[in-house]
């Protein structure tokens, strides 16, 4: 197979406006600026170094499946999408120019494959046009938890302040299951952003690049998602059950 004739459709960036050099969208680094060491990995892959590829698989495959799951209807479909992603990575390797991190590039290939697969399966993550679900402008915390504006001394201050959580309890298997359940009930775009940022540990530039959303939009979605999950978790920690 040769790389002439261009990359397959799923490997062309679906959001060219987010390519490095778009400028002015945010102050931080663009999804470019390959971190040190990445060039070595690329070189190893291109020269056919199997261990380098296996290391990449170990590092990202499970993560790819979870992110694919945001777009497609079943675990089996997500696994297929992740597999197909690696093929896309190998096919695109020669043409990859390092305009984003290797990680962002791999996940963008995944998102493109998953998106078309999701469309075929009638399960679309409404990414580019943020739907009404994301127009919820409700407060992050129940207003009942604060003193009313007319309060003589402390208007707008906590009337029922949050409590400290025990770290041990927080990382118990049950609590982690509660967090997972709460994330799964979020509206799709919020779930996608929180999964990428907080579960998979992608940074904000990578997340924006993969989802094709602006940094500001991403931050609003992250804020709503974390606020809701915190609230659910607070209910769980107090009562032992998840409630949104």
């Amino acid at each position: 197979m040769s790389s002439s004739g261009g990359a397959p459709a799923h490997m062309t960036p679906s959001h060219p406006e987010l390519q490095v050099g778009s400028g002015g969208s945010r102050a931080g680094r663009p999804p470019g600026g390959a971190p040190p060491g990445e060039g070595d990995v690329l070189e190893a892959l291109r020269s056919g170094d199997e261990a380098a590829f296996a290391a990449l698989v170990d590092r990202y495959h499970a993560s790819l499946i979870r992110v694919a799951r945001l777009y497609v209807a079943s675990e089996a479909a997500a696994e297929e999408v992740a597999q197909e992603t690696w093929l896309g990575v190998l096919q695109g390797l020669e043409g990859f120019q390092g305009r984003c991190t290797l990680k962002a590039w791999i996940f963008t290939i995944l998102a493109n494959i998953a998106r078309s697969r999701g469309a075929r399966d009638k399960r679309m993550l409404p990414m580019s046009s943020l739907g009404p679900e994301d127009e919820d402008r409700g407060p992050s915390v129940d207003p009942e938890r604060f003193n009313p504006d007319g309060h003589p001394r402390w208007p707008g201050h906590w009337s029922q302040p949050p409590e400290a959580w025990e770290e041990d309890e927080l990382v118990s298997r049950e609590t982690l299951a509660a967090i997972k359940a709460a994330i799964e009930t979020l509206p799709p775009t919020q779930r996608a952003v929180m999964t990428m940022r907080d579960v998979e540990g992608l940074d904000s530039a990578e997340t924006c690049h993969i989802l094709g959303i602006s940094e500001g939009n991403q931050r609003v979605l992250l804020h709503r998602a974390r606020s809701k999950v915190r609230k659910a978790l607070e209910g769980y920690m107090a009562a032992g059950e998840v409630s949104l």
Partner: protein, 88 residues
């Protein structure tokens, strides 16, 4: 006192700024106002600590259990690609 700190931040307003704070997207004046409030408010410190704890805990959901068969399959894919490269 006015100037950089402006009027005092309420707890109700602070919780809406938590993500901007954690993402380091507040202006230096906003950040100062946020931290000034935190300094004096146990409730908001607890809230921020909960958010940080949640983010830490969420990261633990990223298990990396890869079945050996899947890994082997992908490595085979790589070998086939490499062979095709060599042939091409």
């Amino acid at each position: 006192m006015n100037g950089a700190f402006g009027r005092e931040l309420t707890c109700r307003a602070l919780v809406e700024l938590v993500t901007d704070y954690l993402e380091d997207r507040l202006s230096s004046a906003e950040r100062a106002r946020f931290e000034l409030h935190l300094h004096a408010c146990d409730g908001c410190r607890a809230y921020l600590a909960q958010m940080r704890a949640l983010v830490r805990a969420a990261r633990r959901l990223a298990r990396r259990d890869l079945r050996p068969a899947v890994r082997e399959e992908l490595v085979t894919l790589f070998r086939e690609w490499r062979r095709a490269q060599g042939a091409g």
